[in-house]
């Protein structure tokens, strides 16, 4: 039972971190609860469909279907995250001013909530499909299944609790800093996802250039440990990155902040991230 709990928990926290960050980034925005719920619901539904067609997806494109699918899902999420940050760079200041004036956020919900709902949905879909396959396997195996199933369900519950913890932790950040913190979190999230996506393309045999491993820090912090996984999702930590992954990571960060700078309405305003 404990084993099942841990396996499911590991998958759920990766999506949970993303949901927690999105919730923090949209705090006080009207209608965000609905969008996040739609995102999670859509993700669960999508996860079930993906799990159901796992064999078909895997066999597509000469056996590279799963890799291409993952790369596609991650790429869309990267674009959505970048779009959110660029949008916030353009309009964040008005919202921040408004928050300072009224003491609480009362923005009109004009923010790109759809983009973040898509990110939530895709995160849940990706990790969720693995949970569904795992739990389905338990159920299919029959007799000894019930204890494992309880473990799996507890794992989901623990993952949800972790999401709430992430959110509450981020809420503790003062209003003044919340925008820059979530901007950075989202930029790093996007860069990490892009680096993951390019490795999936490598596994699919599409992008095979620059595939030498640059370093190995798995002795220090394994990407497979719980903390390693958290860092992997949060900032894109990879214990054995390839040259291509590092390049894509840096390029994504650079592109995000460059686009944000271009989108920023007043050029006179000090750009805190531009120096990086």
């Amino acid at each position: 039972m404990l084993g099942a709990l841990i396996i499911v928990f590991r998958e759920v926290i990766e999506a949970g971190l993303i949901v927690g960050i999105v919730m923090a980034a949209t705090r006080g925005v009207a209608g965000r609860g609905r969008w996040i719920t739609i995102g999670i619901g859509g993700g669960v539904l999508g996860a079930s469909v993906v799990a159901m067609f796992a064999g078909v997806i895997s066999d597509a494109f000469q056996g590279a279907g799963q890799e291409l699918f993952n790369a596609g899902v991650l790429s869309i999420a990267v674009v959505m995250l970048m779009w959110h940050n660029v949008w916030m760079a353009r309009h964040g200041r008005e919202i921040a001013d408004e928050m300072r004036r009224v003491g609480t956020a009362v923005s009109e919900g004009a923010r790109p909530l759809t983009a973040l709902a898509v990110v939530v949905g895709l995160a849940v879909l990706r990790e969720g499909s693995e949970v569904v396959l795992f739990l389905y396997g338990i159920m299919a195996s029959g007799t000894s299944g019930s204890a494992l199933l309880v473990g799996g369900v507890l794992g989901i519950a623990a993952g949800a609790a972790f999401t709430a913890l992430t959110y509450l932790g981020l809420l503790a950040i003062p209003n003044r800093y919340i925008f820059s913190v979530t901007t950075w979190l989202i930029a790093l999230l996007a860069a990490g996802m892009a680096a993951q996506a390019v490795q999936f393309l490598n596994n699919a045999g599409v992008v095979v250039a620059l595939d030498r491993t640059l370093w190995d820090t798995s002795w220090l912090l394994s990407e497979k440990s719980i903390f390693g996984r958290l860092l992997h999702t949060l900032v894109g930590y990879i214990d054995q990155p390839t040259e291509m992954q590092l390049m894509v990571y840096i390029a994504t960060l650079f592109a995000t902040f460059l686009l944000m700078r271009i989108a920023r309405p007043s050029p006179r305003r000090h750009a805190p991230a531009a120096a990086e």
Partner: protein, 109 residues
């Protein structure tokens, strides 16, 4: 065990007949949440495609940080894992859903 090897041998022979002289005919079979062979030898410094055949009814995730692969193989199905080019050495992998038993190592030489 011997039957599995025999079966693999037959599969190998069939593969030779069906698709002669392909360099990437490497096969890992999952049965009872174990990999066979547990040690898979592949040539170093070239890309290799390994077919993972899952004979169990339950799904398995072929997972290796060293090989940079995460791949779910549904129950009673197979998947292709592309690895390399690898420097000579040992590259461990696991089946993430049954970590206690499902483990093995790719040896590049």
């Amino acid at each position: 065990m011997r039957t599995v090897f025999a079966a693999l041998g037959v599969i190998g022979l069939l593969a030779l007949v069906a698709a002669p002289a392909r360099s990437d005919d490497y096969v890992l079979t999952i049965k009872d949440h174990r990999f066979t062979p547990a040690e898979l030898k592949v040539p170093a410094n070239q890309r290799v495609a390994v077919t993972v055949i899952n004979e169990d009814a339950t799904a398995e995730e072929f997972d290796s940080g060293a090989l940079k692969v995460e791949k779910v193989v549904a129950g009673k199905s197979k998947g292709v894992v592309r690895i390399g080019p690898l420097k000579p050495g040992r590259y461990p992998f696991i089946g993430e859903y049954h970590e206690a038993t499902a483990k093995g190592v790719v040896i590049a030489e």
